[in-house]
């Protein structure tokens, strides 16, 4: 099996890997939409969607009703509805750009996945090899560069809809995303200043960041969320704004803009915007996990290698690369999903900011804070790290 795979042409291998990752991201996106409804319901004291069921699953005792209560089948019902309902194209829109916008929304959302490593395995020498579609050295740069293209789809959707509310939504989206992009980028610079220690090849890759969080010793095994809490806080806040989540969902704000940029959209095109939004959330949470939460390391000060050594004490099978890979992906996904839950939890906790407050927080609070943070860490790193 593995031999057959490695004998394939590298391009075919890449396509297979890419498809595999997309096949994971899409269902997780769908599951997130369900989780959104469920978490919302739970916080509001409701059980949430729990009725739909497929007959032959209903026959399975215990598991069937459990899945039904969990609302698993509502995902299929929602998806089916989204696919088969009439996809109306309003008469007053610019048809080409109107159709183009949701497609453009998907492209950056799925492109950024390539640069994000999602697991690791240990080779014979015990060296950690990250699992990624493209484990490139410009990882962070690639993610920032491509993910900020996502705003074009919102602007395009708002403009092509040729209607007041979508237009306002599109304008807000562009203003908000540009404002928060700055502090987001500046907040991660200290991390990369720290991991690019003197005497090493320069790298903006995520693998290096995770490697730095899995070193022995108190400072070495410390996740960056403890080492650089202000950076983590700014990154998280900017992430909320970048993914248009409450309390920053200005582009959508159903209270004052009907539906914001997607007011005129329906059916599958509307669904694409949402899958893109969830994919953005997934990638954002993934990046946050890699940068600040130790990536695939199970606990602070316990790197993956240590866990695998401990498990190998029970069974030699635990040291097999496939098992280690699956374990690390599981740990990573667990952290990412916990962050997604956090997104949903915050949604029902913090009321939406007013538009002027969003701008004030972005420009007058977060940006100076991130610059001060950068200066502080630059000075501290210059002081601590050995000179060449």
């Amino acid at each position: 099996m593995i031999e057959f795979y490695t004998s394939l042409h590298p391009v075919v291998q890449g396509v297979l890997k890419g498809l595999a990752v997309i096949m994971v991201i899409f269902p997780i996106g769908g599951a997130c939409s369900m989780a959104e409804r469920k978490v919302s319901a739970w916080i509001q004291g409701r059980p949430g969607p729990n009725r739909a069921i497929v007959p032959w699953v209903a026959w399975v005792p215990l598991i069937g009703p459990f899945l039904q209560r969990l609302g698993i089948f509502h995902v299929m019902a929602d998806g089916g509805k989204m696919l088969f309902k009439e996809d109306a194209l309003p008469g007053h829109v610019n048809k080409f750009y109107f159709v183009l916008a949701p497609i453009i929304a998907m492209i950056p959302a799925l492109t950024t996945v390539t640069a994000v490593p999602f697991g690791a395995y240990l080779d014979q020498a015990g060296k950690v090899i990250p699992l990624a579609l493209a484990n490139v050295d410009i990882g962070m740069l690639a993610v920032f560069a491509v993910s900020s293209l996502g705003v074009y789809s919102l602007i395009l959707a708002g403009w092509a809809s040729n209607s007041k509310y979508p237009f306002l939504g599109g304008v807000r989206a562009s203003a908000q995303l540009i404002s928060y992009e700055l502090s987001m980028t500046l907040s991660v610079v200290p991390v990369f200043l720290w991991v690019n220690a003197p005497g090493r090849d320069a790298s903006l890759g995520f693998a290096r960041v995770v490697e730095f969080q899995s070193q022995p010793g108190f400072l070495g095994g410390m996740w960056f969320v403890f080492l650089m809490p202000v950076s983590a806080f700014i990154f998280m806040t900017a992430l909320f704004a970048e993914t248009n989540r409450q309390p920053f969902d200005m582009p959508e704000s159903e209270a004052d803009l009907v539906g914001g940029f997607h007011t005129e959209y329906g059916a599958f095109k509307w669904g694409l915007f949402f899958v893109a939004e969830y994919a953005h959330m997934l990638i954002g949470s993934g990046v946050f996990t890699l940068l600040f939460l130790g990536g695939w390391n199970p606990l602070p000060w316990i790197p993956l290698g240590q866990l695998v050594d401990w498990l190998a004490g029970f069974s030699p099978l635990a040291a097999h690369p496939v098992f280690v890979g699956a374990l690390s992906i599981g740990i990573f996904l667990g952290k990412v999903l916990a962050l997604i839950f956090f997104f949903m939890w915050v949604r029902w906790t913090v009321p939406r900011f007013r538009y002027d407050q969003v701008m004030e927080i972005g420009w007058k609070k977060l940006l100076p804070l991130s610059i001060a943070n950068l200066i502080f860490y630059a000075a501290a790193i210059a002081f601590i790290q050995p000179r060449l």
């Binding site: 978490v39 739970w42 916080i43 004291g45 059980p47 806080f233 939890w345 915050v346």
Partner: protein
């Protein structure tokens, strides 16, 4: 005269201006809501407890001897604000054990598409024959189905206890003389 109360507006502290402590407190509150038991009554499986005095679907009732109590005086028909009740008065056949009761409805219809559940029919009924009972869910596929006829009304109403049994007393008085009244 009320003295004006001057509320002192303290300037926000640094912690308050960062929003962070408030957001954490809010997260704690929403978490408590997340884990506590759910409030929802899952309707078709779980039914609400009906409080006493509930005004559900109006029904006709029989007395404990199984006699229909309505004497078709039509007061309810006249008082009904949306004119949902239609009564066709009828005779009680001679020789029937309830012959001493003057009249009985031949047909009694309540149009549930008109009924507003105000309870005036129950209030006005001198015979305590019509009651708004506990049933709250009426459905049907046609307009005709939503009209409760006499049979259906007695089916829904059943028998309720009666403290007066006034027609029995009247018959008693006819037979034994009027001394007891």
């Amino acid at each position: 005269m009320a003295t004006p109360v001057i509320v002192e507006r303290k300037p926000l502290t640094f912690a308050e201006r960062t929003y962070v402590p408030q957001i954490l407190a809010g997260l704690k509150t929403t978490w408590q809501h997340l884990v506590k038991p759910k409030e929802t009554l899952e309707y078709p499986e779980q039914r609400p407890a009906i409080p006493p005095g509930y005004r559900g679907v109006p029904t006709l009732v029989k007395d404990p001897h199984g006699r229909e109590k309505c004497v078709s005086c039509q007061l309810c028909e006249f008082v009904c604000p949306p004119k949902a009740i239609r009564i066709t008065p009828g005779e009680i056949p001679p020789g029937a054990p309830t012959r001493h009761v003057e009249k009985a409805p031949k047909e009694f219809e309540i149009d549930m598409l008109r009924c507003i559940y105000c309870g005036m029919c129950q209030e006005v009924c001198p015979e305590e024959a019509i009651f708004l009972q506990n049933q709250y869910s009426m459905t049907g596929y046609t307009r005709e189905e939503m009209v409760n006829n006499k049979v259906r009304l007695y089916e829904l109403g059943g028998t309720l206890p009666d403290q007066h049994l006034k027609w029995d007393k009247k018959k008693d008085a006819e037979v034994h003389g009027n001394d007891r009244h």
